[in-house]
């Protein structure tokens, strides 16, 4: 065995993120690590990479017991990690990003030419060419991913951990990445691949380890298993299909009419978008993140101004209106990034819940404190939000509980149109079911819901119609009950044909 992790336990205070984990790697294999959000995948790998120390348990590399206090020590043992969130220096060049920490130098002077040569050589050797002189901030995400992998290779790693490498990539880039992994594995490199996309796993992995609630529920050979078995191991039960009655769409509540928006570097973020959402239906937007979904939401919600085109909300042209007017005209919005858009961390739960309701709950400019508190406390009960009290600061809530608070706040807006962007990101199954049920209830009550999600399953479960976005355009539209994952995936990857 190249690497063995045995009886690994990691505790954060009273919370156990990993419990008695056994995990091993064979030389030259691609080993997938799967599990739900918060299952403990990243935690396990951070311990392997020396960023965290196990509470108990042993790690052996090539039979020798090791303990890593810092990433540098792990690196010295040939372990490299590409993190879930990229660890790059945007204003530095590709070469600088790759060689950092192991810079070629003469008498302390950084030899950039030499660095570029090394990077070119590395790219040639592993079949992943890059332009060493380009600034990383100017590289597309796929290239940045490649830079991350080259960095790890430059560090001389034999064991490479990839934490959700494909979450932000286009299908083409994913394909390339997987191909690269396979060829590197042939050259003797060993991979740990963390991902939520089980199809990817089936495509490249040799073996698969499944985590649930911080424990291993199985380690399988890829050829002996299938996606269904994996999901059962991950979730612990068969996934139930939500009980969804057929929709009775009425008139349009949102009409997007030829909206365009220019993005960075003369690429357009949105190109001539036409779509509508009717009352009483859920329209899902699928697509790999970064294909214009965020921009579309922001334009609809008034957070960005469209360059051209019109947006009609309940028949009224609300293009480029200020946010507050749009909201008051009838829009609720669960934002995609709860920490960036959805909450103020150092404000209390009550204050976070008040946002958007504060113009309603007032008399002559003074907030009705009692009513506001009662409202928020009601949600805490209804959605069983775990919090000390309504006065607890939002930063002390777990991600899922904060998400529930935000969802509750937006469900309560009483608007005929709701944007739900990644409404269940990082949320546990129970809360997910609550939120899904609420979304459908909203629909059944006659509101229009625009659901944006990078989880295909979520889209398929909830939507009445599915729109797929690719590179700022609508690549296709499907009826949900007719759509298959394959069709959607094809559209997400840029397959143009309309179905």
């Amino acid at each position: 065995m190249l690497l063995e992790m045995d009886q690994i336990t990691k505790k954060y205070g009273g919370f156990t993120a990993n419990r008695d984990i056994r995990f091993n790697l064979r030389e030259g294999e691609i080993h997938a690590l799967v599990g739900e959000n918060g299952a403990g995948k990243t935690t396990l790998m951070r311990m392997l990479y020396g960023m965290e120390q196990p509470t108990s348990g042993t790690i052996k590399v090539r039979g020798r017991e090791v303990s890593f206090a810092t990433p540098s020590q792990a690196m010295a043992s040939g372990i490299g990690m590409v993190h879930q969130h990229f660890m790059l220096f945007p204003s530095f060049t590709v070469a600088e990003n790759i060689v950092i920490g192991r810079e070629p130098a003469a008498a302390g002077v950084f030899d950039r030419k030499q660095a570029a040569a090394q990077v070119n050589e590395l790219g040639r050797k592993y079949g992943m060419p890059v332009d060493p002189w380009k600034k990383v901030s100017e590289c597309p995400l796929g290239l940045q991913q490649r830079v991350e992998i080259l960095k790890v290779l430059h560090q001389g790693a034999d064991i490479i951990i990839l934490d959700e490498p494909s979450a932000v990539l286009t299908p083409l880039e994913v394909k390339e990445l997987l191909a690269n992994m396979k060829s590197l594995a042939k050259l003797g490199k060993t991979f740990v691949l963390i991902t939520h996309k089980l199809q990817e796993v089936m495509d490249v992995a040799d073996r698969i380890t499944v985590l649930r609630d911080g424990q291993v529920t199985g380690t399988l050979e890829a050829k002996d298993t299938n996606v269904e078995e994996l999901s059962r191991l991950m979730v612990g039960r068969e996934l139930v299909r939500l009980n969804k009655q057929p929709s009775v769409p009425a008139e349009a509540v949102l009409q997007v009419d030829g909206v365009s928006l220019s993005g960075a570097k003369d690429r357009s973020a949105l190109k001539d978008i036409h779509m509508e959402v009717r009352k009483g239906e859920v329209v899902g937007i699928a697509g790999i993140s970064g294909n214009g979904q965020s921009e579309l939401i922001q334009v609809i919600a008034g957070l960005r101004n469209a360059d051209s085109g019109r947006i009609l909300l309940s028949g009224q042209d609300t293009t480029n209106w200020p946010v507050r007017r749009i909201r008051e005209h009838g829009l609720a919005h669960i934002p995609e990034d709860r920490y960036m858009w959805g909450a103020a961390k150092d404000a209390s739960v009550r204050e976070n819940g008040l946002m958007g309701h504060h113009h309603r709950l007032q008399t002559r400019g003074v907030i009705k404190a009692k009513a506001a508190r009662a409202m928020v406390e009601g949600w805490i009960k209804q959605f069983s939000i775990k919090t000390g009290s309504a006065e607890t600061k939002a930063q002390f809530l777990s991600g899922g509980n904060l998400q529930k608070l935000i969802a509750a706040r937006e469900f309560a807006q009483d608007a005929p149109f709701l944007i739900a962007a990644e409404p269940t990101r990082g949320v546990d199954i129970g809360a997910m079911e609550t939120i899904h049920a609420e979304l459908l209830r909203k629909r059944n009550e006659g509101a229009g819901v625009l659901l944006v999600s990078s989880e295909l399953s979520e889209i398929l479960q909830l939507s009445d119609r599915v729109i797929v976005m690719y590179e700022g355009e609508i690549a296709g539209e499907l009826k949900a009950d007719e759509a298959t994952e394959e069709q959607i995936s094809l559209l997400m990857a840029g397959g143009k044909e309309r179905i």
Binding site: V323, A343, G388
Partner: protein
Amino acid sequence: MNRVKETLRGLVQPVLAILIGLLAGAVAILVVGGNVLDTYAEMWKGAFGNFYFFTNTLARSTPIILAGLGVALAFRAGFFNMGAEGQMILGGLSAALTALYLPGPGWFVCIAAIVAGILAGGIWSVFAGWLDARFGMNLLITTLLLNYIAIYFGGYMVSYPFKDRTGSAAMAQTPMIDQAVWLPKLFQGMGLHAGFIIAIVAAILIYWFTHKTVTGYEIRMLGSNPSFATYGGVRRIRMMMLSMVISGGLAGLAGAGEVLGTQYRFLDGSLSSASYAWSGIMATLLARSHPLGTAVAAILLAALQTGAMGMERNTDVPLEVGSVIQAVLTLFVSAQIGYSFLKRRKEKKSNAATV
């Protein structure tokens, strides 16, 4: 219960900082060969020794409270307004000029002068806000620079066009304001004037404004997370301008209060040499931008200053011990000693419980 606990937790930090400050002061006292207890006793007497000294302390705290409130509001909205000094000077100058040249009954002119002070401070402050919003010029730096400009401008105005030419005419100052316009003293023969009441009312109002009103809520959310506020429909630029206006207006009010209640004229350098604005910033930092806390902290700082004066009058320990204490306690107040210390203890305890 939870609330009490959180308030207590909030107090750990300042109390620790005060202790460290007093400790530093004690070291300084020992260095110059003073007796720590006697010296601190003199300091206490100088600040709170009797009613007279107590009112003295409150009088000194008046501009500090107001300037501090202004800074606190800006901080709450997320803007590092370092321009309280300049805003205060222009506020004081405008108040003095209005008081001198506006005809009308005393009470009316007095109110008009206060309003003029508020407006001048507010405009100067919102100018910096505008430079930031419109041209992206960093507020922290522009407000610092605008201070110097205000100082020299004020100096020019009272050295040339509006100089006092009566009496000895030796000072760069405006003529004396008519007695009818003065802010009344609260007690005969003592320095404390009605400005203190204005300051306390302002502290309560600002507290009420930030914590109870819709606009205050929006300002606080803007300061906590601008993106969140924008998402919720808060108009960032408008709220920024509003909070900068109020912030500068309060600093202007501080200047107006000093002019109308203590000096009865605008005297070049009198507002900056007393470091009211900087003390106000310190008070805000001590209170973590809480309006009522800022008022309390301002009184505490004023007490340190008047106490240090008393100490210097009656011992051989120099006045600067007071500023050393002040500086050290602000230095440590934002340090997370209390919190991380507590947290570490808690973590250890829970580890012990689970392992």
